[in-house]
Symmetry: C2
Subunit: 102 residues, 2 copies
């Protein structure tokens, strides 16, 4: 699950797609027109995002409307949180305080 999510957002085009979807629902065509690759290329990226649960699709006639689903990103952020202590500089100060004599 984290595999799919991190794998999905490891690609800059897909991160950009999520950025567009953050402004609201968009259909595949209008989304595709904003990227310098083919329609089919964008269509494949969307499928990767769907597989990761980051995008859902609402078919209405011949149009497919896409919507951002942020829940999987929350799980991804939670995993990263386990490492927050390691980049938090305040910890260095705390450590220096706790073990002053090595």
């Amino acid at each position: 699950m984290l595999d799919q999510v991190y794998g999905a957002i490891a690609d800059p085009t897909r991160r950009a797609i999520l950025g567009v979807l953050a402004d609201g629902e968009v259909k595949v065509g209008t989304l595709a027109r904003r990227f310098p690759i083919t329609f089919n290329g964008v269509s494949k990226h969307i499928k990767v995002l769907e597989r990761a649960g980051l995008v859902t699709r609402r078919v209405r006639g011949r149009e497919h409307w896409l919507r951002l689903q942020a829940a999987p990103l929350r799980a991804a952020a939670r995993w990263l949180d386990h490492y927050r202590e390691f980049w938090d500089t305040r910890l260095d100060a705390l450590e220096a305080l706790l073990k002053p004599r090595p």
Copy 2:
């Protein structure tokens, strides 16, 4: 840069390696012994993590000691933060409050 970081942590073995490294410096061999794949397989994963800036290596004689570098994870977490509002349930309540009549 985010490409490399997210790509690196998209693999469960590499996430596990980071987990081990969170407990302190470890040399390649002792790390490799903890995984059900070959030494060389682990060695390649380490290289991916190094390329992402998540691991640094201190060569001491014939031993290579590995250390976690969490800074790139901070950048990754920051990007995810842009989407926090979308999974934060409090927003739903706020939205309901702001536009009570659709």
